[in-house]
């Protein structure tokens, strides 16, 4: 092994180390894994920015900056030591706790109590869902799950606030965004398009299957929605915005999201209201195992799937060019 390899530059080990260090891409070769100024995101960046962006080379200002940098560095050093101590303390505290907890896989642990028993033994007859986890999150603990959809909704609102660039208010930066996007994305890449032709229908069909079978097999609205969203994103990467915007523009995304969430809201309000007031509910579990069974669960799964797919797609487009 110690034999010197004359072609060390091209040996696997060297490629691997260089790949880990980040200046070599096994596929693209030496291209631009790391842009000219070697450590783009590391400490080198500080100097880079100071040299290039801060052009005011006033002497006193630079002295001030260096003083500040020294202060900051000293502070960061202290901060790191302190942080390590805190982290080790928390780790020890939690490990100490773990040693007092019930054993792994113990059937007599406190959490395997009447709650879990009822979910398993009567879940099928009470909710109609074969997949007990889905029955639990969409029927027994549906309020949590509605909250969870709202988390997704509020996060997408925040991302909209941060990243959406509006045509009316800021046409200039909108145009820059569009130009950048056209510049940096692959245009009509044949390999990508061929792969997408094959994969996108498969992904979307599989996603729909996962959503619709959420109450029968593993999966459900969330995972299925994420798969559909990934399919849409792949289609977008292969064919560009002109094609996708015919069926997924801002209006459609908004309408789908609001429609799905509104249905979710009303359906669950009805079920909560009848449940709490002990009224008769028209929702029945149906025949377990059928697609159209399990009461509201299948519809709720579809709603969650739509919301998740739309949100994931809009996250991607917002990051890419600041608009859906």
């Amino acid at each position: 092994m110690s034999k010197k390899n004359p072609n060390y530059r091209n040996s696997f080990a060297d490629k691997f180390t260089r790949w880990v260090k980040g200046d070599y891409d096994p596929i693209a070769g030496q291209m631009e894994m790391n842009a000219p100024d070697k450590e783009v995101f590391g400490d080198e960046r500080i100097r880079y920015v100071h040299l290039h962006i801060v052009k005011s080379n006033n002497y006193s200002e630079r002295m001030f900056e260096e003083g500040l940098a020294k202060n900051v560095r000293r502070f960061t050093g202290l901060y790191k030591v302190f942080g390590a101590i805190v982290a080790i303390f928390i780790a020890c505290l939690l490990l100490w706790t773990v040693s007092y907890l019930p054993k792994f896989g113990d059937p007599n642990a406190p959490e395997n109590n009447e709650v879990a028993t009822r979910y398993i033994e009567q879940g099928l007859s009470e909710t109609g869902a074969v997949n007990i986890v889905t029955g639990m999150i969409l029927d027994y603990r549906a309020f949590d799950t509605f909250g969870e959809s709202c988390v997704l909704f509020v996060a997408s609102c925040c991302v909209l606030i941060l990243l959406r660039v509006d045509k009316d208010e800021d046409p200039e930066s909108r145009a820059i965004e569009d130009m950048n996007d056209r510049h940096y994305e692959p245009r009509n890449d044949t390999i990508l398009q061929k792969v997408a032709n094959f994969l996108v229908p498969l992904m979307i069909v599989f996603g729909i299957y996962v959503v619709l079978n959420g109450h029968i097999s593993p999966g459900g609205g969330f995972s299925g929605g994420a798969i559909i969203g990934s399919g849409l994103i792949l289609y977008l990467t292969a064919y560009g915005f002109e094609k996708t915007q015919r069926f997924m523009n801002e209006k459609v995304v908004k309408a789908l999201t609001v429609g799905a969430l509104t249905f979710y809201c009303f359906a669950k309000s009805y079920s909560f209201y009848t449940g709490a007031n002990h009224l008769h509910s028209i929702i029945t579990p149906g025949t377990p195992g059928n697609i159209l069974s399990a009461g509201l669960i299948v519809y709720l799964n579809i709603c969650v799937g739509i919301v998740v797919a739309c949100t994931m797609y809009s996250f991607y487009t917002l990051f890419r060019k600041g608009g859906i």
């Binding site: 109590n113 309020f143 609001v258 079920s271």
Partner: protein
């Protein structure tokens, strides 16, 4: 089941639904929806409060068809209803008070998103107040955090991004710790609902098993929620977060968001962990120490601060220290004082932040002391409002701040060894408060030559003036007629047990 008993559930669903529907509306319609929603929530909560006070006992409301240990549920008592009333009232006044600023500072196309954030904030606060389920609490804590982050960065400037980032990092550490505490709690009790979990915990405490996990749970939950509410050593994000966003958002953030977490903490102490075992774990002593240190250090930082909005934000740090000191006393009277201070601090801080926006408006939009000279003369309403808020903060009789200080001092008399410390620190803190608030008020009324500032025509927005007057009245009302509120708090706390 009486129809009134559905009202808390209607409040939560209504605020969530108005958020969802605002997504396809424009800014103006979203504003109207928000105002209508908050008004409706206020009225419904008042009805709930009167119902609960009338019957004198609490009730649980099933969220679904399944009873207690299996389904989600919310629980309504006097304290919860009272908090809902005050939170919606303060939310309404804060939004009205900063309406003109929202119109100016938020981009037109993003106004509806701003109101969505406020709607969801209201929903999450209501859910945090009413919930009887720990995991629901976690989910709504996250909604609260994200919505608050959106409110902080709504102005879209570099500085607000940085403060939002710092807020998010601190909050996420807090929620991580809270969630792992919750996991441990679930693994030793097997329940997520508060009442069954408490029953199991009582058995556990009785047979002295799982003592270490129980202590660690108390630590993790307290520290997690403490970080999120800005307890002293974790307060560094507060001045930036409150200092640079739009006034309504500052008011809402300082008077409601952190208070929601504190209320949840008190609820968990009483309804899950049992306050006696919290006291015997010495966690209250730690909270007491941090609260006391926060009271002093927050005020000291406020004195050093030159920017009036950041000064007020630092004063929030001190006031959160008051609340934790009250909890840390370890007596029921201390917790009553803390709960009253949650309400009264909400009333005072929203008034201060809203009036500051009126004052900076007539000082070239600057908020340092030099520019603010004479601002109280230029904008009389805002000046008067700031004065009332400051006096209330200092503890002027007839205003709400006096009542909370009195309650804290009275609660300290029964707290044994903590009595002297609490009194001394209350006195020091009052002196420090007086120093920086009186300095500000004197600056505001210091006459300046006319030509330094160009003549400002204060836009007389009737809604904002009405909101400011409403807040002043709320401060006076809480100060004059505090007895009924305190009685409701005491009764509600007794229902918790």
């Amino acid at each position: 089941m009486a129809f009134v008993q559905n009202f808390p559930f209607f409040c939560i669903i209504l605020s969530m639904f108005s958020a969802i529907i605002s997504f396809v509306m424009n800014g103006r319609v979203a504003k109207y929806i928000h105002v209508a929603m908050v008004t409706a929530v206020l009225i419904l909560s008042l009805a709930t409060l009167s119902f609960v006070v009338g019957t004198g006992e609490s009730y649980t409301f099933m969220m679904g068809h399944f009873p207690a240990p299996w389904g989600n549920e919310i629980r309504i008592g006097e304290l919860e209803a009272l908090m809902a009333v005050f939170f919606s009232l303060i939310m309404m006044l804060s939004v009205f008070g900063g309406m003109a600023h929202i119109d100016r500072e938020v981009q037109d196309s993003k106004k509806n998103l701003f109101y969505i954030l406020l709607d969801l904030l209201m929903a999450s606060l209501l859910a945090l107040i009413y919930t009887n389920d720990l995991f629901t609490a976690y989910v709504f804590i996250e909604i609260n955090t994200i919505a608050a982050c959106g409110l902080i960065m709504i102005k879209k400037q570099g500085r607000t991004y940085v403060s939002a980032l710092r807020y998010m990092i601190m909050s996420l550490v807090g929620s991580g710790l809270f969630l792992i505490g919750l996991t441990l709690l679930y693994s030793i009790t097997g329940h997520l609902l508060m009442s069954p979990a408490k029953e199991v915990l009582e058995q556990i405490v009785a047979v002295h098993s799982y003592q270490v996990p129980l202590m660690v749970i108390i630590i993790l939950v307290t520290v997690g929620l403490g970080i999120k509410s800005g307890l002293y050593p974790f307060h560094t994000w507060i001045p930036d977060a409150y200092g640079y966003t739009t006034p309504s958002a500052s008011a809402v953030l300082s008077s409601l968001v952190s208070k929601g977490y504190i209320f949840l903490l008190i609820k968990i102490f009483y309804r899950v962990l049992d306050f006696d075992s919290v006291i015997s774990s010495h966690m209250v002593n730690i909270l007491f120490v941090f609260g006391v240190v926060g009271m002093i250090m927050g005020s000291v930082a406020a004195i050093k601060e030159k920017n009036i909005r950041r000064m007020t934000a630092y004063s929030s740090v001190a006031q959160i220290g008051y609340i934790y000191m009250g909890i840390g006393l370890g007596t029921t009277a201390g917790v009553v004082a803390a709960l009253f201070h949650i309400i009264s601090h909400g009333a005072m801080k929203s008034l201060l932040f809203i009036s500051i926006s009126g004052l900076t408006e007539v000082s070239d939009g600057r908020s340092d002391y030099l520019s603010l000279r004479g601002a109280g003369l230029r904008n009389k309403v805002a000046g008067a409002a700031f004065t009332v808020g400051s006096l209330s903060m200092i503890g002027m009789p007839l205003l709400t701040g006096f009542i909370s200080k009195y309650l804290f001092a009275a609660a300290a008399t029964t707290a044994g060894s903590k009595m002297i410390t609490a009194w001394v620190v209350l006195a020091i803190s009052t002196v420090l408060n007086t120093m920086y608030f009186m300095r500000t008020v004197l600056t505001l009324y210091r006459p300046v030559p006319e030509e330094t500032h160009k003549a400002y025509t204060v836009e007389k927005s009737r809604i904002e003036t009405a909101a400011i007057i409403g807040m002043i009245l709320l401060n006076i009302g809480l100060g004059v007629a505090s007895q009924p509120v305190i009685k409701v708090i005491e009764a509600g706390l007794a229902m918790f047990g």
